[in-house]
């Protein structure tokens, strides 16, 4: 194994206030390593931008942190708990916005959000309708989501972020199909989230990093696996 180059922007993995620390993470797709020995940590109110070309493992990294993928090697630790995800009292509250919206086409925007409010809890003090207003899609809350445009559906998906005070946002290309106003509304939400002590890990090919303070970056090219990528 070649020694990976430690990224200059990443913080020491053993900082004491770190809420989330990722240690020596290796992820593979179809038995070919995407990246290996990736370590970073995040503190309160910090955001992390994942850089890398297409196919470098940005989505895989985000899904691994969300707990959907299992890492091949390495650990993801939460200092709030022993990293035991079965212990629901210590379970970090994660919001994940992926390539698929998680919005059911048959249901209206409001019904979709009410479903998530019941699934994940609704602790931000904002009702589902108010969450939709945050992203300026409250006017189509009564329409079935299959009749909404891709941008509107993405806004409905993003309004999930306002339902709770999340510990961590995982945003995978969140501004795809959003217009300028939508991006501004998302960045407003993100500012409030970071001010409240939340963390964000995101990747985006558009430059939205101006909206995130305390931004750190990791480039997955620096952690590329030994085997050539096909």
């Amino acid at each position: 194994m070649s020694t990976p180059i430690k990224d200059t922007h990443s913080i020491d993995a053993h900082t004491s206030q770190a809420l989330l620390s990722v240690e020596n993470l290796t992820c593979e797709r179809s038995d070919a390593p995407l990246f290996s020995n990736l370590s970073f940590s995040l503190e309160k109110s910090q955001s992390l931008r994942i850089l890398g070309p297409n196919g470098s493992g940005k989505t895989t990294l985000i899904r691994t942190i969300a707990g959907i993928h299992k890492p091949a090697l390495g650990q993801i630790r939460w200092s709030t708990g022993p990293g035991n995800r079965d212990n629901s009292a210590n379970k970090p509250n994660i919001a994940y916005i992926g390539h698929t919206t998680g919005i059911r086409g048959e249901l209206t925007a409001l019904e979709n959000l009410e479903f998530y409010a019941r699934m994940t809890g609704n602790l931000s003090g904002m009702s589902p309708t108010e969450c939709l207003e945050k992203l300026n899609v409250a006017h189509c809350s009564k329409l079935p989501c299959m009749r909404l445009s891709a941008g509107q559906r993405q806004r409905v998906a993003l309004s999930r972020l306002a339902l709770n005070q999340h510990d961590l946002w995982l945003l995978d290309e969140p501004v795809t199909s959003l217009d300028d106003q939508g991006i501004d509304l998302l960045l407003d939400l993100a500012r409030c989230h970071l001010e409240a002590g939340g963390m964000t890990i995101y990747c985006s090919h558009q430059s939205i990093h101006s909206g995130f303070k305390n931004d750190t970056e990791i480039d997955l090219r620096n952690f590329k696996g030994d085997h050539p990528q096909c």
């Binding site: 899904r63 969300a66 707990g67 959907i68 993928h69 299992k70 995800r85 079965d86 629901s88 379970k91 994660i94 994940y96 992926g98 390539h99 698929t100 919206t101 998680g102 919005i103 059911r104 086409g105 048959e106 249901l107 019904e111 479903f115 998530y116 019941r118 699934m119 994940t120 079935p144 999930r160």
Partner: protein, 219 residues
């Protein structure tokens, strides 16, 4: 969590009724083809009626299996539910219950009409209903394993049928023999007990297998 998912499925069905009545429509059509194709003779029909009802019930259940997890899987809801629930077991169990509510339960109601059409006498209705009540949840449970295994495939219909139908054979044998025994005047409790045992076994084990299969497909 379980109830939240089932409630959402109820809402989805209320917005999309045409999709929900497909299995029951299929059941009615298939069963009414037999008198047309085989014979309209009451005695002959009566003797093959248990088989007709059970084969049609099996195929109607299969029809709704394909979308059991696929819609949630494709639109990303499965990821979101997994992050929120942290347990695929609960999600699988909730979806299986919904599946039975929308394919098994209407079928049991409708089978009384079909039974009259096939000249099944009224005194066998108890055996008919008990066998379907015990059998159709078993079909939903066992079928969910196949549905979870094929959830990542684009066209999974035939593969799903090939995986699931052999596993349905025990239910088919005892379900049909439950009704035939009662028709012939024999006691049918033995078959019913065996079907109850199969139901308990599938409720205990199938959601675990389904959750494991979903896990493989998600990562």
């Amino acid at each position: 969590m379980l109830i939240t998912i089932i409630k959402r499925d109820l809402k989805c069905v209320s917005h999309n009724l045409s999709g929900a009545i497909q299995p029951i429509g299929f059941f009615i059509i298939i069963t009414s083809l037999f008198p047309l194709a085989v014979t309209p003779d009451p005695e002959a029909l009566q003797s093959i009626a248990p088989g007709i009802i059970w084969i049609s019930a099996l195929l109607a259940t299969l029809l709704a299996l394909d979308t059991l997890f696929k819609e949630d899987f494709i639109d990303g809801t499965m990821d979101q539910m997994f992050i929120a629930a942290d347990s695929l077991y609960v999600i699988a169990f909730a979806r299986i219950i919904s599946h039975w509510l929308f394919s098994g339960l209407p079928l049991i109601v409708m089978c009384l009409v079909i039974a009259m059409m096939l000249h099944i006498p009224a005194y066998t209705f108890d055996a008919l209903i008990v066998s379907l009540l015990l059998g159709t949840p078993t079909l939903s449970m066992v079928g969910s394993i196949g549905a979870a295994l094929t959830v990542g495939l684009r066209y999974s219909g035939v593969l799903l049928t090939l995986i699931t139908l052999p596993l349905y054979i025990p239910v088919l044998i005892f379900g049909a023999s439950c009704i035939s025994a009662d028709l012939a005047g024999f006691p049918w409790t033995g078959q019913a007990y065996l079907m109850g045992a199969m139901l308990v076994l599938s409720i205990t084990l199938a959601p675990f297998a389904t959750a494991a299969a979903l896990r493989i497909n998600m990562s």
